[in-house]
């Protein structure tokens, strides 16, 4: 059964395979964050409900250029460290405020991310969402993303860092739907609810 747990709450008193956002102390498994757990699962895992974005290798992210120097650009990817891309990586020069998408190639022990394959995105809008809820915007095998882009006729790119880039189509409807998904991300039957919202 699914249950909301708070940090430090005991999940299991017996041994179990460890998933994410849990820790072991004196043989008992505790939750590390405010989140949802399912005690019927084989692994002890907590899906967080809130939290900052911590970059991981192979994440696709939406970044904003915040700084430029002789060698390259500083990119804000909604993490606590600024990233850097060299000018040699870009074909055309970037300006401050430009939006790019990129992949995280490596993360250092200080959680500093290296970016590869940067691509400048043209005119469009960036929508901020809660980073821990962005997987729900993508859905299983991109199902929710398909519903979003088809229902609003928008070109949508969702970064793992809690930023969504979109253009064309009904942007107001997209924003409304994204907000709805964000607010209800932990509830069941979300896909059907979103479909009915878009059909209205």
């Amino acid at each position: 059964m699914k249950k909301v747990v708070i940090p430090g709450e005991i999940l299991f008193e017996e041994r179990k395979r460890l998933g994410s956002n849990v820790f072991v102390s004196e043989g008992k498994i505790y939750s590390k964050v405010l989140g949802i757990t399912d005690n019927e699962n084989e692994t002890a895992t907590v899906v967080p409900l809130q939290g900052p974005y911590v970059p991981r290798r192979d994440d696709s992210v939406v970044g904003v250029i915040t700084r430029e120097n002789f060698a390259g650009y500083g990119v804000n990817i909604n993490s606590f460290n600024e990233c850097f891309i060299p000018k040699s990586a870009m074909r055309t020069p970037l300006t401050l405020g430009d939006v790019i998408i990129a992949k995280v190639s490596n993360v250092s022990e200080l959680k500093e991310a290296d970016l590869t394959f940067p691509k400048r995105m043209g005119d469009g809008e960036v929508i901020s969402v809660n980073p821990v809820r962005s997987p729900r915007l993508i859905g299983k095998n991109g199902s929710m993303l398909d519903i979003l882009s088809q229902g609003t006729d928008c070109e949508v790119f969702i970064g793992k860092n809690g930023r969504l880039w979109a253009r064309n189509g009904d942007l107001e409807l997209l924003k409304k739907t994204v907000k709805f998904i964000e607010e209800n991300s932990y509830k069941s039957n979300l896909t059907n609810a979103v479909e009915s919202l878009l059909r209205k």
């Binding site: 940090p7 590390k32 606590f80 709805f180 209205k200």
Partner: protein, 264 residues
């Protein structure tokens, strides 16, 4: 306050509470939209806002630690929070409380997960009536959990001590001003009962101390239950309803109501 008051005779406290009863406590989360996590706490007459920002870049940079995150707490009292106007700037007491709160919270948060960063915790006392530091710690801990920080445990805190000849929990201002008053703010990590804050003002015998420590831990556990409720109640695990579905249920209810009216 009258020196003739004796709790041993009255068996009840000045505000009608039992000796081991805390003042009414309520906590609400997510009250500040622009913060990463926030909480509003009302504990008796104490009213406190707590907001958490971060992890973010450390400023000034020389305070950064490459092995862990630094928790920077800013405790402030608004000028109108106490009967006599308080000068709005930070004073020695504010600095001390900020320091001890930061140290207590650092023990609970997995700070080593965010090296070279700071977590800013801002607590603002809007109304104060004794025990504001424990109230702030309780609120700050809820705000940190609300921000999704990885934590070992919540930090639950309460005040205990002695007033008018009896050991009491959660002293109010009148009791704090009693001639024999002893005030002990205590904060624990409820699972392990590890003490993360303990200060004392006054004198106690060894026997009294043993009793008061037990009373404090009992009080903290009561506070923990309220913290837990505040965090869990925000998220209701039900089915999501799109606009179409929601209106349908409303309509059904409306139909039922009209049917009842017609029957009457």
């Amino acid at each position: 306050m009258d020196r003739k008051i004796d709790y041993k005779k009255t068996k009840k406290r000045l505000d009608g509470r039992k000796m081991d009863e805390t003042r009414p406590l309520s906590i609400k989360t997510g009250v500040i939209e622009n913060a990463d996590g926030s909480a509003y706490l009302e504990w008796g007459q104490n009213k406190i806002y707590a907001a958490v920002y971060g992890p973010r870049e450390v400023l000034p940079k020389h305070t950064a630690n490459p092995l862990k995150s630094v928790i920077k707490v800013e405790y402030r009292m608004t000028s109108f929070s106490v009967p006599q106007r308080k000068r709005p700037g930070p004073n020695r007491r504010d600095q001390e409380i900020s320091k001890v709160l930061g140290e207590a919270l650092s023990r609970a948060v997995f700070v080593e997960q965010f090296p070279n960063t700071e977590i800013g915790v801002y607590v603002e006392v809007v109304d104060a009536n004794a025990g504001s530091r424990v109230a702030c710690l309780t609120a700050a801990s809820v705000a940190l959990a609300d921000a999704g920080m990885p934590m070992r445990d919540m930090v639950a805190a309460t005040g205990v001590g002695k007033a008018y000849g009896e050991l009491v929990i959660d002293l109010n201002k009148d009791e704090e001003d009693a001639p024999d008053a002893v005030d002990i703010p205590i904060a624990i990590l409820p699972n392990s009962e590890e003490i993360v804050l303990l200060q004392m003002d006054g004198l106690l015998t060894r026997k009294e101390w043993d009793a008061v420590a037990k009373l404090g831990i009992k009080g903290c556990k009561q506070v923990y239950e309220v913290q837990k409720k505040a965090l869990v109640n925000k998220f209701e695990l039900s089915e999501a309803k799109g606009k179409g579905q929601a209106t349908k249920t409303v309509k059904k209810k409306a139909v039922k109501k009209t049917v009842k009216k017609v029957k009457k």
